[in-house]
Amino acid sequence: MKITMAHGSGGRATSQLINDVFKNANSNPVLDMMEDAAVVAGSGRIAVTTDSFVITPLFFKGGDIGRLAVCGTVNDLLMRGAIPKYITSAYIIEEGADTDDLRRIAESMAETAREAGVIVVAGDTKVTEGSGNVYINTTGVGFVPEDTDIKSSDCKLGDALIVSGDLGEHHAAIMSRRMGIENNIKSDCAPLGEMVMNMIDAGIELHAMRDITRGGLGTVLNELASASGCGFELNEADIPVTPEVEGFARILGLNIMHMGNEGKLAAVVAERDAERALGIIKNSRYGAAAAIIGRVTGGEGVVMNTRLGGKRVITELFGEGLPRIC
């Protein structure tokens, strides 16, 4: 069935759509009450984040917009050391969208939420004119354990920098799809709760964490450097990237350091805990390819020792990261 403006009328068609597609997939006691607002339990310091998801295509190798909408928000909570508990999901659906697609998206969202240990407690659906696109906003709520305080401004001289796996996969997967290039590159879209919670439980001295999304590791590290008033020194040879993504980037003139992931993090940890933290990440789901790739320096900005033996500066991403001619 195709979505029409009637599905956004607030009347019978709207409630049918909500019941058939969204409530079914995400059924839980809070949502099922269908009240105007969800009332949930919790205490202590609360972390809140919100994010909107716009992606073409809606379905891609390794994920879809539903999985993405959960992972993006859950991972943002985790980066502050918060334990994710609740999310909301608001859909803006263009006329012409297919209800089978919506059902797949809602189911994928529900499955990812289960994996990430969050429940969808509130939702909204709007329909607008357009050409069948779907946009999702999710807001996440999590609780921060008592002694945990992880923030971008806490990187310290000598800290180790760990990335949790191969760079660039989401970016390369989406771009391959858009360009009609056949390959085996999959989006890495994933919730990172297991590795983060395992580190926190093990008492790792985590100073700062960021998930590596749009703008890539280069942008993340420049932001951390500027928030903490420090620099980073990286070793290119240690940066994990699959040969397939590396080749894809080379052909299109894209820079691995500016390609986004959706299931990778950069963690800045006290040097004495570095090896232990690496071991924990490697033993967690989605962390097998993790590596220590550099350290915090007293300088400013991000400098990389190239594989060849030279040095180059890594800036944040400028522009859109579009492929070049030639």
């Binding site: 858009r178 360009m179 009609g180 080379r250 003139g253 820079n255 900005g301 400098v303 990389m304 020792n305 190239t306 594989r307 060849l308 033996g309 030279g310 040095k311 180059r312 500066v313 890594i314 800036t315 400028f318 522009g319 859109e320 579009l322 492929p323 070049r324 001619i325 030639c326």
Partner: protein, 344 residues
């Protein structure tokens, strides 16, 4: 040739005659920056960037014409992403899109065919920019347009060929050339052998990996003037890709072309042949190159007269976010690479 460590040591400690080597190709410039090669060389070996970035050598009049077309009713300009942010005499294509111009980015010229077929009532204009490497693709595209009788897809061309540009920049200060590997795939190494003899300077055809570039630079410090060496034989043969040249020559012929920084050079461009001129939407005569920022020295950068850091705008008013000239826009542009990779 010594092993990689030997080459690195030699290049670091080199104390012979001063060498000024031009990286002709934009992808070489990118690789030099990304590998941090400039800072692995002795002060007596200097690398300068050349005219091999297709976007960077495009003149303002061409961009202006694209913008006019994008603003015309029922017309969409199709372009590669690089081109969007380059400013013509006043605006860029992206500026035009922001005020209602119709501009569409594609990754391959063949997407343009699908777009044109999907909206037969609309006119599409492809911004066909590039060198020897890209022109065969436009030839194939032209062939498909003709075979399938697609009436609503036209080309605005600013196609260029390398030899004339290399001749034009080959001033006395340049001691050798890193020959453009991608162009070589099409033209064959033979072209560089001929240029080396003609200009009396060594040419080395090089691949794009860091170690391949170091080997090529090493060779350029050793080769005699007028000698040529192919260090990229896995991709570049002596004769090149004859089929690609044939299809190019079927649809295109040499013409005068205007280059940013170099001016008008006879025989340095390619245009659709007269019998296919019905595919062209008025590409000739687009030679004016007055740019908005009078201080912009892209022209001097492209011709190797100054390094990007020698331009007074570099890094101050001109950054990848606020580019004044094309060299700061393109991911193959030398200013862009000097800026984002901190190249000295």
């Amino acid at each position: 040739m010594p092993d990689l460590d030997g080459i690195k040591r030699y290049l670091r400690e080199y104390d012979g005659e001063s060498k000024i080597i031009m990286e002709v190709c934009g992808t070489h410039t990118a690789s030099v920056s990304e590998n941090g090669i400039a800072d692995m060389l002795s002060p007596k070996i200097k690398l300068i960037s050349g005219p091999g970035c297709p976007v960077c050598v495009t003149v303002a009049a061409y961009i202006d014409r694209l913008i006019e077309l994008a603003m015309e009713e029922n017309t969409t300009v199709i372009s590669f992403g690089d081109m969007l942010r380059v400013t013509g005499s006043r605006l860029s294509l992206r500026d035009a899109a922001a005020v209602g111009g119709s501009v569409k980015i594609v990754y391959s010229p063949f997407e343009a065919i699908s777009l044109a077929k999907a909206s037969p009532e609309r006119r599409f204009v492809f911004a066909a920019v590039g060198f020897e490497t890209t022109t065969p693709i436009y030839a194939l595209m032209s062939e498909q347009i003709i075979n399938e009788d697609i009436k609503n897809l036209l080309l605005l061309t600013a196609l260029k060929t390398m030899p004339a540009a290399i001749r034009a920049v080959s001033g006395a200060n340049i001691t050798g050339f890193l020959a453009p590997g991608h162009v070589g795939v099409i033209t064959g190494h033979r072209l560089f052998e001929e240029l080396a003899r003609e200009l009396g300077k060594p040419f080395v055809t090089a691949g794009f990996k860091g170690e391949e570039l170091l080997a090529a630079i090493y060779a350029l410090t050793k080769l005699k003037s007028g000698a040529a060496l192919n260090l990229y034989p896995s991709a570049v043969t002596y004769e090149g890709n004859v089929r690609a040249r044939e299809i190019t020559n079927k649809y295109f012929e040499p013409c005068r072309a205007a280059w940013r920084g170099l001016g008008i050079i006879d025989g340095s461009g390619m245009k659709l042949r007269d019998e296919y001129s019905f595919l062209d939407i008025g590409s000739s005569g687009l030679v004016n190159d007055s740019v908005k920022d009078k201080g912009c020295r892209c022209g001097d950068v492209i011709t190797g007269r100054i390094s990007p850091r020698g331009c007074p705008l570099f890094g101050r008013v001109c950054t990848p976010d606020t580019p004044c000239g094309a060299c700061m826009v393109s991911t193959e542009g030398s200013c862009f690479h000097y800026y984002i990779n901190g190249r000295v």
